[in-house]
Structure formats: C-alpha cells, structure tokens
C-alpha cells in the first residue's frame, strides 16, 4: 500500500503546483506522400494516423488524473515531400485542415533543413512561409539554418530575417502573431515534441509518440524547503524532483504509445513554463536567491537548474530526447515577463542564458521597425552559440508591427503576453549582406 502522504504529495503537485504533461506529440512520416498532388495524400495520412490522438490523450488524462495540456502533431519537413509543380501553401492549408479534423492545437513541420545549402524546394518552401503562416491557424514552420557539422548558412540566415519581417507584416492585425509560429534553429533535433519547432525527422519511423513534461512549479516548491542551503543540496533536490516528473512522463508516453499503436519515441525533459502564476522557470531562479531573473548570477543559476533536471530525468525514462533542458520563452513565463518589464532581463542577458540551456531566444517581442538584417544578426549570434557548443539553439522573435519599446503585445493562451524590449540600433546590414557560409568549427571534426 502506498502511504497517504505520497498520494497527497502527487495530488498537490498536480492541483497546486501545476504539474502537467505539456504535450503528447505524434510524429508522422509524410515520405510516402511525396511528389505531385502531395497535399491531399498528406491530409489523408495525417488524419488517419492521428485519428485517435486527442481522444486517447483525454482518456489518459481522466484515468490518471493528470492534465495533458496539448495534443499535437509533427510531420516530415514539408520541403522534402513537396512536388515539383505544387504550391507549398496548398500543403500548409491541408495541414491546417488536418489539425482541425483531428482536434490538435498545433501541427509542426512546415520546415526546411538548409544548414549547408538550400535546394530548390527548400527555397520555395521558405519563401512561402509568410503567406502560409498568415493563411493558417495551427501550422508551425521551422528552418534549420546551422549545424555543428555544416556551419552557419548565412544566406538562409539573411532570408529568415526577411521572412520574419514579411510574416509580421502579413499578420499585423494580430500583432505579428505569425512570427510566434516560426522558429529558426541551429542543430535542430528530429524528435522535438514542442512547438513551434517540432518536425518528424527523416531518421524516424512511420509514427512516434514523443512526450514533453512540465513542472517548474514543482521544482520551485521543492526548493522552498531548502532556503539558504548550499548549491549541492539544491542540485540534489532538483534531481529528485525531475526524476519524479519524468517518471510520470514516461508512464503517460508508454500508455499513449500502447493505445495509439504507435512506437514510443522519447520523453523530453525540458522544464516548460506557462504564463500562469506558479509555473515559471524565472521564479525557480529567484527562489535560488536572485532578486530578479536577468541580474548577475542568472546564467549560473540556470546552468545548475538545467543540468540537475537532465541528471534527474535521464534515469527516469528509457529514452530521453527532444530538446531536454530548461525553456526560457519570454512571453510564456510570468517571471520573465516581470523581469523584462523591470528592465533587468535584456536581450543580451537572454543570449547569455541560451549558452547554458536548451532553446534560445524564444517568444521575444521586439520593435516593429527592427530591420531584417538586425533580426538576421541576432539569429547569426544564436546559431554561432549552438554550432560551437554542439547544442540546439533557436530564435523565435516577433517584430511587432507599429509598436515600439515598452509597449505590450498580447498573443493570448499559452503564447502569453510580453513587453517589447530593445535591440541594438547599430546596423548589421553590411555584415548580413555578405551571405555565404560560416564554416563548421574545428570542434566539429570528431572522427
């Protein structure tokens, strides 16, 4: 028999500390749909394979009493299945319809992998991103512009800045919301369950069930019991908590995999915040003793948190993957929002923080008149961090049309709200105009 305190501890984590399964994401291969007229075949494949995804997610939620916030789909990068004569936007519309039909809230994979060079279809897809994101609700796009093995494709980096500006412009009536569904990566992973960057890699099977857990509130509560104690005590506490959270993720992933008759892929160990109070990564860092996230000490605190989460989680799952680290999306974390409003958390500090955690500059609203070259330069910096450190980094910036520093943008729901923060005003135009490729770093030669 389990003891009462353990049972109520679990119930309290779910009820009071907002522990949840952040997402069950079903990866679906579209390789069999490739070629002309792919859009219809893609719709059929996605709706057939994911037919029961939402129903099964809800069943598990009810039986185990654990909220599963999102049910989502990731597909093979669309650039790989695009037919010669096909308009890529037709595929985006088919994916959006498939998302509606299956009841998922996002579908990712409107993507191209161009870290070394862009093929004709990659370029066609990239150029279609602004229109695709403006004309769909649930489709997410991503482009991998760099990798440790290939270096940084600076032509693609230049294009992404332009694509961001155009996407924001086409969704100006919604404060540039289209850009919240567009992410550019260095070292993108093939089994990421989190949006907007999820896609189903070519090394994957027909389907896979990938699960992302959450629980910043649980980690914070656990640390509250150890105020003033040394860092090694904190690290141990985080490890134990991460272990518990991940075991739950593994259980749900196995159950979903069984019921959907789709192989279990990975559990992603990322600590993912939401805009609700009590679900903030920034508040964990502040619990460690920082007055406000973004001040000196923040990078060290985040490094320890991220490392301890991984150490605790890795033993709890038979297969860990995805991004696996702490997320620091500005608009989706109440502590980050407050710190940015206070001016403590700046773009430069966020960049430093991305050196030691899993994602990158995520959900950051910048002034609407930010030049494309500046957005590209921010991406180049971030890609450089990823490439040289052999880790994933990403950029999801929203240049909010018609708004400037200090004004607010509301995306609603999980995407949250954010103050617009400044970027450096100096021009990067000549730097970005060079194009070409930053060669792979020496540490890519590991064989």
């Amino acid at each position: 028999m389990l003891n009462t305190s353990e049972i109520f501890a679990t119930i309290d984590m779910i009820k009071e500390q907002k522990l949840d399964i952040r997402t069950i994401t079903m990866g679906i291969s579209l390789l069999e749909c490739a070629g002309s007229g792919a859009a219809d075949r893609i719709y059929d494949t996605v709706t057939r394979r994911a037919q029961r995804l939402v129903a099964v997610g809800e069943e598990i939620e009810r039986e185990f009493g654990i909220p599963i916030v999102n049910k989502r789909i990731s597909v093979t990068p669309v650039a790989l299945v695009l037919g010669e004569a096909e308009d890529p936007v037709r595929i985006a519309l088919a994916l959006d319809r498939a998302a509606d039909a299956t009841g998922v809230n996002f579908i990712g994979g409107y993507s191209a992998l161009v870290q070394k060079g862009a093929a004709r279809n990659d370029l066609r897809l990239m150029r279609s991103i602004p229109e695709a994101l403006a004309r769909t609700e649930k489709v997410c796009a991503s482009v991998n512009v760099a990798s440790t093995r290939a270096g940084v494709n600076m032509d693609a980096v230049r294009m992404i800045g332009e694509i961001m500006v155009e996407t924001a412009g086409l969704t100006a009536d919604r404060d540039g919301l289209g850009c919240a569904k567009l992410v550019a990566f260095a070292n993108a992973v093939e089994d990421n369950p989190f949006m907007a960057g999820a896609f189903h890699g070519t090394g994957e099977g027909d389907t896979a069930i990938n699960v992302g857990v959450s629980g910043p509130g649980v980690v914070k509560r656990a640390l509250e019991a150890h105020r003033g104690e040394p860092f090694d005590v904190m690290a141990e506490t985080i490890k134990k908590t991460a272990f518990r959270i991940t075991r739950m993720g593994q259980l749900v992933a196995m159950e979903a995999s069984k019921r959907l008759n789709a192989p279990f892929g990975i559990v992603d160990l990322s600590l993912a915040p939401t805009p609700s109070v009590g679900d903030s990564v920034a508040h964990i860092l502040e619990e460690m003793g920082l007055e406000r996230c973004g001040q000196h000490g923040t990078t060290a605190a985040l490094m320890m948190l991220n490392d301890a989460v991984k150490k605790g989680g890795v033993m709890a799952s038979s297969s860990v993957g995805g991004l696996s680290g702490a997320f620091i999306p500005l608009s989706e974390d109440i502590g980050m929002i407050d710190a940015a409003r206070a001016g403590t958390l700046t773009l430069d500090k966020l960049e430093a923080m991305t050196c030691v955690c899993s994602v990158g500059l995520d959900m950051i609203a910048v002034p609407g008149d930010t030049p494309a070259a500046t957005l590209s330069a921010i991406l180049a910096d971030e890609a450089a961090i990823g490439v040289v450190n052999q880790k994933t980094t990403a950029v999801r910036l929203i240049p909010v049309p018609g708004k400037g520093v200090g004004e607010w943008v509301e995306f609603g729901g999980l995407l949250g709200r954010a103050p617009i923060i400044p970027v450096h005003p100096e021009s990067a135009a000549a730097f970005i105009a060079r194009g070409g490729r930053i060669p792979a770093p020496i540490n890519s030669l590991r064989n």
Binding site: M1, R62, E63, G65, M248
Partner: protein, 89 residues
C-alpha cells in the same frame, strides 16, 4: 486494474458509508483503506480493484464526483500506476 481513491474535506458522519456503498453498487472491491484526520480535515485513501467493475471508468469518476459535491468533499479516482511511477523504483 487498480485505482486509488483519495478523499479530502470536512469530516462528517457517513462519508465512508456513502463512498463504499457507491463502490459496492458497481462491484468495485476495496483492497486497502487508510483514514485519518489531518489538521481538522478528513483524509482518506482507498486502493480499489476495478477488474469486476460493472460500469466504465469515466462513469465511476462521475459517480464519485457527484458524491463529492453532495458531501462537500474532494474525491478523486486515479489509476494507481501514476503514484507508483512517482514514488517507487
């Protein structure tokens, strides 16, 4: 299939009678039961066996929720694997 039923709320006569009566009606077998008063709150945990249950899981949860509303208690039923996963190696 086993599940854990947890009950939390203000104490009053008849809580166990009502809940066990409801379980009995649908042939749910109680395997273990722990009950105490914690800081004035009635706190109970039951482990039950659902293998002979004559209604669906969701219906049983609905019945218990209805009972919870009537008695002013929070009653949850969750598959026991979630607690095992989090607290047992």
């Amino acid at each position: 299939m086993k599940a854990i039923i947890s009950v939390l709320g203000a104490d009053k006569p008849g809580i166990i009678a009502e809940i066990s009566g409801c379980l009995y009606r649908f042939n749910v077998n109680i395997l273990d039961i722990t009950q105490t008063i914690l800081s004035g709150y009635f706190t109970m945990v039951m482990m039950v066996d659902l293998s002979g249950m004559t209604c669906g899981f969701d219906e049983m949860v609905g019945n218990l929720n209805g009972l919870g509303e009537k008695l002013g208690l929070e009653i949850r039923m969750q598959r026991n694997e979630i607690f095992d996963a989090m607290h047992r190696l």
